[in-house]
């Protein structure tokens, strides 16, 4: 299992002629299989931290280690490889490739990994069924609802068995029912597969699902609390395939 360690992370942006601290000496350690929420107001640094953890952005200072690998010193190509093999992303705006069907979107990452067609097909269909989209594999993003699109994005994020899933405001564009169902799905995947989830949000409902809640402000971690976390529907006996968003 892979743990995440951040030490003294700093990131500064220039905006309107003045310097803004996106991350200000952030120290953070996340154990494998944790279900973590980063919360805070807009501009508090949660997305910046998420981007740095995912290798999308490089800190000005400090170290990030995933497992035994320092990622803050990797090249663009190495970072792309790391994201491909170890990290899954779920974004606020669903971000599916519009010219690909739901199945092809899920298969896309596996295609980049060089997995053969039969295995891709089997894994994508299984995962789509797991997130409750059986029968919708051939539909393109424009033919799916917002909730369904986000489920496809989740399926794509987890299909290659990443050690870490980073989700940035995943429920921001969803209605409350779809948001709850998505969080149930995240929790099930966390429990069932042991995937580490780090979710950036300022949605109180999302925070209620997390067992660890990190609050940020002005680029700093202002609190790091452990809480019971909401119990996933699966543990109450409802299979995810039976839920419809």
């Amino acid at each position: 299992m892979t743990s995440i360690l951040c030490q003294q992370l700093c990131k500064t942006f220039e905006q309107g002629g003045s310097l803004i601290k996106g991350l200000d000496h952030v120290d953070l350690s996340i154990e494998p299989g944790e279900f973590v929420c980063l919360s805070g107001p807009s501009g508090s640094g949660k997305t910046t931290l998420l981007n740095a953890l995912g290798g999308l952005d490089t800190p000005d200072q400090g170290e990030i280690t995933i497992g035994d690998q320092r990622i803050d010193q990797l090249s663009k190509k190495q970072l792309a490889h790391l994201r491909l093999q170890k990290i899954g992303f779920v974004f606020q705006a669903f971000n599916l490739v519009p010219v690909l069907s739901a199945r092809e979107n899920v298969e896309f990452v596996m295609q980049l990994q060089g997995i053969d067609k039969a295995e891709r097909r089997q894994r994508s269909d299984t995962i789509l069924a797991e997130v409750g989209l059986a029968g919708l594999e051939q539909r393109r993003p424009a033919q799916l609802s917002g909730g369904q699109q986000q489920r496809v994005a989740v399926a794509r994020a987890i299909v290659s068995n990443p050690v870490l899933v980073l989700a940035d405001e995943p429920t921001a564009n969803l209605d409350s029912n779809s948001a709850s169902q998505l969080m149930d799905l995240f929790q099930q995947l966390n429990q069932k597969r042991g995937i580490t989830f780090v979710i950036a949000t300022h949605d109180q409902r999302v925070m209620s699902y997390c067992r660890r809640l990190i609050r940020m402000q002005d680029g700093r971690i202002v609190s790091d609390e452990t809480q019971p976390g909401k119990i996933a529907l699966q543990s109450e006996g409802v299979a995810p395939q039976e839920q419809a968003l």
Partner: protein
């Protein structure tokens, strides 16, 4: 390989996202390629026609003369028929045929008018007895001792003479004495070029040699070769065998024609490049717009683990597919349009002007494989090169910035 397949699928689908734009660009490429190849084929056809006409009128691909003959084409500058060494060279495989001729300036007179002409003595058994001209009325010369005369239709009109009438030809012998002889008009020819019809008359070689008192000597040796344009090795070989004679290929004998052909060669390349430049702006613009519209998506792909090189390859594949479709349609259009005028395009409306350049009134296109490869190659290779910059720029986009792009 698997990744290339994925990138190809993405490129193909992205291409048809904005199908209207793709269709417009494909049509532009197809039209451009059609214009490049079709116009080059027409130019080549015209050049081939000009060369054929030129070779028929000179006549021959190569001519051998006395070194002073071109400056003073009189009987003084005559030479002996080919000896053994030259004959051996004239029997080589690259030489199709040859003929020995007498050509002197003369005055022709009918009972109503007289004119200056080129008097040509030929052996009808040898090639091009009438150069490239067609016998319209009467008969051909039968032997080199034939006593008849063949003249052009326009000359007959000017002299107010006709088939069966007698005319007098007057010239000089080697001692500068005036010699003359009466000939009966046995044939009237037509020529693509009006100047030829007015200025050339044909008689038997032996008859003229006797009239001009030049024994067996001749004015020129006319050679037809298998190759039309690459004549230098043959010219050099013949010059070694006949050091006392001037050996010249058609493009030096007719400088205007030679220069025109060279100019057309260069022009066709300039034409291809100019069309390509016009095309490339549209092509690059299409690609830049396509990238701009997909900026966010490119960021997403990078976030998912696609390398900058793969992004670059995907966009280049898209450009290549666009180019290939355009090339395919363009080449099909070329074949269709050339097939529709395979018997030639009648340009008699501008034939006077074309005749000045030595071309006939029916233009037959000549499609050369090399021209097709060159036009397709220029569009494909330079097209991809032109698209390399936007593709490279797309691969350098920052995923965070691009994913915030709206």
């Amino acid at each position: 390989m698997k990744q290339l397949q994925t990138l190809s699928t993405l490129a193909w689908r992205n291409l048809w996202r904005n199908y209207r734009r793709t269709l417009i660009m494909t049509s532009a490429i197809a039209l451009g390629v059609w214009a490049m190849i079709f116009m080059t084929a027409m130019l080549r056809g015209m050049m081939a026609d000009m060369i054929t006409q030129g070779v028929n009128n000179l006549p021959g691909h190569i001519q051998l003369h006395h070194p002073e003959y071109r400056a003073d084409p009189s009987i003084v500058n005559r030479f002996a028929p080919p000896g053994d060494e030259l004959l051996e060279q004239l029997n080589q495989a690259d030489i199709k045929s040859w003929s020995a001729r007498v050509r002197v300036p003369a005055v022709i007179a009918s009972e109503r008018a007289s004119r200056g002409v080129n008097l040509i003595g030929v052996d009808p058994a040898e090639p091009l007895p009438l150069d490239g001209n067609l016998l319209k009325d009467g008969r051909s010369l039968e032997t080199e001792s034939d006593r008849g005369l063949i003249m052009g239709a326009k000359l007959a009109e000017r002299l107010e003479t006709r088939l069966g009438k007698r005319v007098v030809l007057m010239s000089q012998d080697p001692d500068n004495n005036v010699v003359d002889r009466g000939f009966r008009v046995v044939g009237i020819f037509e020529s693509e070029l009006s100047a030829t019809e007015e200025n050339q008359v044909y008689a038997g070689r032996a008859t003229l040699q006797k009239m001009l008192r030049m024994d067996q000597k001749i004015s020129e040796l006319v050679i037809l070769t298998e190759e039309q344009r690459l004549l230098q090795p043959t010219v050099e070989r013949l010059a070694q065998s006949a050091p006392h004679l001037e050996v010249l290929p058609w493009y030096e004998l007719d400088r205007f024609l030679g220069t025109s052909v060279e100019t057309f060669d260069g022009f066709s390349m300039v034409f291809i490049v100019v069309i390509f430049l016009a095309l490339s702006f549209g092509l690059v613009n299409t690609l830049v717009m396509a990238i701009f519209e997909r900026t966010r998506e490119i960021g997403l792909m990078q976030a998912l683990g696609m390398t900058p090189a793969s992004i670059c390859v995907q966009i280049l594949l898209e450009a290549m597919m666009l180019l290939l479709i355009g090339l395919l349609v363009g080449n099909a259009l070329v074949l269709l349009s050339l097939h529709s005028i395979k018997d030639g395009l009648d340009i008699s409306g501008v034939a006077e002007g074309m005749a000045l350049m030595g071309a006939g009134s029916v233009l037959k296109p000549a499609l050369h494989t090399l021209d097709v490869i060159r036009a397709n190659g220029v569009v494909l290779v330079l097209g991809i090169v032109a698209c390399a910059l936007p593709a490279w720029q797309a691969s350098r986009l920052d995923p965070i910035t691009t994913m915030n792009h709206t």
